[in-house]
């Protein structure tokens, strides 16, 4: 096969390649006699050797490698002159030793420059870090914060120079020569340290707790709000103490406004309650005096009976867990139960003896008369008085009047009044009968349990016997004594 390129062309290409590149080769025998050389010898700063020169005295980089083994060896980054660095590739071929030198000066230069740059960057980084620390300090200063690290001996070390704002509060922090014990200075910190130590002992990184705000008084009498926080950070036990001037004031103002609102609401509610109580007391008094006046026509009762009726009913309603406004209503409404007697003629009402059946029929109309008097009212109190008036003679078994209602068809208010009305009448003297003991009255009334009286309410009435007896004995004074005469 014909050669594409003649030998002289190939040799020229090789020469150009070798001489324009920054590498060279030398071939020498075991005695160091140069046999051949090529490449850019001059560019590498090597001496201008001639063939047959002994090169070992000047090619010091070959020291120790002669005689060469057949193993290929490389000596990297070798300084062969003051300014040149090469990789030296050594190998033995036939009877010649070969050394190929590849210029690495630029690489080394680049590496050096890179190292230089790297170092410069490190220095810059360090400088930046310093700035950063300075920024940190300014950050702490801006936050009015003190950063401390807890030491194993129980003292604290300042992490940053103390902010000026602590100069009055904690002057000890400005003396770098002594360890700090803020827990001795501030009882609040002493208390918080217990929680902080627990946090630090658990050792979960970046976990933190806040003390909540506290107030310290300065020597000049002014007060400063502070807050501490303990943080676990990279095994460091950090404590930050922060002055909370503005945020504390804002939080306090917010809380104060909220609380003043609550106080004002309470005052208004109390005022409404008092006024309502006054109005109710007035209503009660008017009602009682009018009823009292009406009742004197009957059997000479002067109001103490109706007053007690209201109180007994109130007591039972309370134990039935009625709403307070309903309890108040029954206390006033119960005394109106017999208001209808106002429409019964004196000849019947004041008859000393037993009523005839006709007279009794007339007497039995008093619940309806009362209901008429009290009808068409929008007032809850009057409505309750109406139902009591109309139904207080109904009986549990349906044998009562005027409508013969039975069981729970009879309004509860009326069922209560029917019990206490009979009880109070039995234990007090009337023109036509003597008074009875509480025990005797209860004994008689028990016969009517489940027939006359609601059995459940009657049982409750018995349970409340002591309180009922107290009312009976404590409210014996006439409400309208002037009517006695």
């Amino acid at each position: 096969m014909d050669k594409l390129y003649p030998d002289n062309v190939i040799n020229k290409i090789l020469q150009i390649t070798l001489e324009t590149q920054t590498f060279a080769y030398i071939a020498f025998n075991d005695e160091g006699i140069l046999i051949n050389q090529g490449g850019n010898i001059a560019a590498l700063g090597l001496p201008a050797w001639s063939v047959q020169d002994n090169i070992l005295d000047e090619a010091l980089f070959l020291s120790g490698f002669i005689p060469m083994s057949s193993e290929y060896e490389i000596i990297p980054s070798l300084h062969i002159t003051e300014t040149k660095v090469v990789d030296v590739h050594l190998f033995h071929d036939s009877n010649l030793n070969w050394a190929i030198l590849v210029d690495k000066t630029d690489d080394i230069e680049w590496q050096s420059r890179a190292r230089q740059k790297s170092n410069e960057l490190r220095l810059l980084q360090h400088e930046l870090d310093l700035h950063k620390e300075k920024d940190n300090f300014e950050f702490f200063e801006a936050l009015q914060m003190m950063a401390l690290c807890f030491m194993d001996n129980g003292s604290f070390e300042l992490l940053e120079p103390a902010s000026e704002c602590f100069s009055q509060l904690y002057p000890e922090a400005f003396d770098c020569s002594t360890p700090l014990y803020p827990q001795h200075k501030f009882p609040f910190i002493e208390n918080f340290l217990t929680d902080a130590l627990q946090l630090w002992d658990i050792g979960i990184n970046n976990q933190r707790i806040y003390s909540g705000p506290w107030i310290e008084q300065l020597a000049d009498g002014t007060e400063t709000a502070l807050e501490a926080r303990a943080i676990n950070w990279n095994s460091k036990k950090l404590l930050f103490i922060e002055i909370k001037d503005v945020s504390y004031q804002q939080d306090r103002d917010f809380l104060q406004r909220g609380r003043e609102g609550v106080l004002l609401k309470n005052i208004l509610q109390e005022e409404v309650r008092k006024r309502t109580e006054e109005i109710r007391a007035r209503e009660e008094e008017i009602a009682l005096r009018l009823i009292c006046a009406a009742d004197t026509r009957d059997d000479g009762e002067t109001g103490s009976h109706i007053r007690r009726l209201g109180l007994y009913s109130e007591l039972i309603a309370k134990h039935l867990n009625w709403r307070q406004d309903k309890i108040d209503e029954i206390r006033i409404a119960a005394p109106m139960h017999d208001i209808g007697k106002i429409g019964i003629p004196d000849s019947i009402l004041k008859k000393p003896g037993k009523l005839t059946s006709e007279e009794f029929e007339i007497m039995k109309t008093h619940p309806q008369i009362g209901a008429k008097i009290l009808s068409n009212s929008k007032s809850g109190l009057v409505q309750m008085a109406r139902e009591i008036s109309l139904h207080h003679h109904e009986k549990w078994d349906g044998s009562g009047y005027p409508n013969g209602l039975s069981g729970k068809k009879i309004p509860q208010s009326a069922r209560i009044v029917s019990i206490v009305d009979v009880f109070d009448a039995l234990i007090h003297k009337r023109v036509y009968k003597d008074q009875m003991s509480v025990e005797k009255a209860i004994e008689i009334m028990t016969e009517g349990r489940g027939t006359h009286f609601d059995p459940g309410l009657f049982d409750l009435f018995i349970e409340l016997k002591n309180e009922i007896s107290d009312i009976a004995s404590n409210f014996d004074d006439p409400l309208c004594p002037e009517l006695d005469n």
């Binding site: 208390n191 705000p213 506290w214 807050e227 504390y248 609380r259």
Partner: protein
């Protein structure tokens, strides 16, 4: 000198800070200023020629916005419960706080101050309830931080109680 931590506890605006200020600095500020957090004051009391330093922890009042932190009660030798005579609900809060103290710190001495005696005509706290509490062993004083009535006596009483327990 013996030092004792005493916590002031009660609902908001009952006069805890005013009682401390009247006792420690003999001053009274008519305007209500809510306390946020804790303020600590000290006062030395002499009982039978012995001195005791009361470290008074004035804690922010309890309400629906804020609850007393249990950690603040740690190490208390006694507590002063304060109620406002004109606000009956503050007595309920005082009772609740006393129970909290007992469960968190133990059965330490306490005294109940029913404050604002200067407004006694507006009181809504039932005297019967106070009597009942006294029957149950509560030490109760009626005080006025404004007029300084019973203020000194309140702290003195508590300090005496603490002394007897030493």
């Amino acid at each position: 000198m013996i030092k004792m931590k005493v916590c002031m506890l009660g609902a908001f605006a009952v006069g805890k800070t005013s009682l401390v200020q009247q006792y420690v600095n003999s001053i009274f500020n008519e305007k209500y200023q809510t306390t946020l957090g804790v303020k600590i004051d000290k006062k030395t009391v002499n009982i039978d020629n012995r001195s005791i330093e009361l470290i008074l922890w004035d804690l922010a009042g309890e309400d629906e916005f804020m609850e007393v932190r249990s950690s603040y009660l740690r190490g208390s030798a006694a507590v002063i419960l304060v109620a406002d005579g004109t606000r009956a609900e503050t007595l309920d809060i005082a009772i609740k706080l006393k129970n909290k103290v007992y469960s968190e710190v133990g059965e330490i001495p306490f005294i109940l101050l029913v404050n604002k005696m200067d407004l006694i005509e507006n009181w809504s706290i039932d005297q019967l309830t106070l009597k009942q509490l006294e029957k149950e062993g509560w030490n109760i004083l009626q005080t006025s931080a404004k007029d300084s009535d019973n203020v000194e006596a309140a702290y003195q009483t508590l300090a005496s109680q603490l002394m007897t327990e030493l």
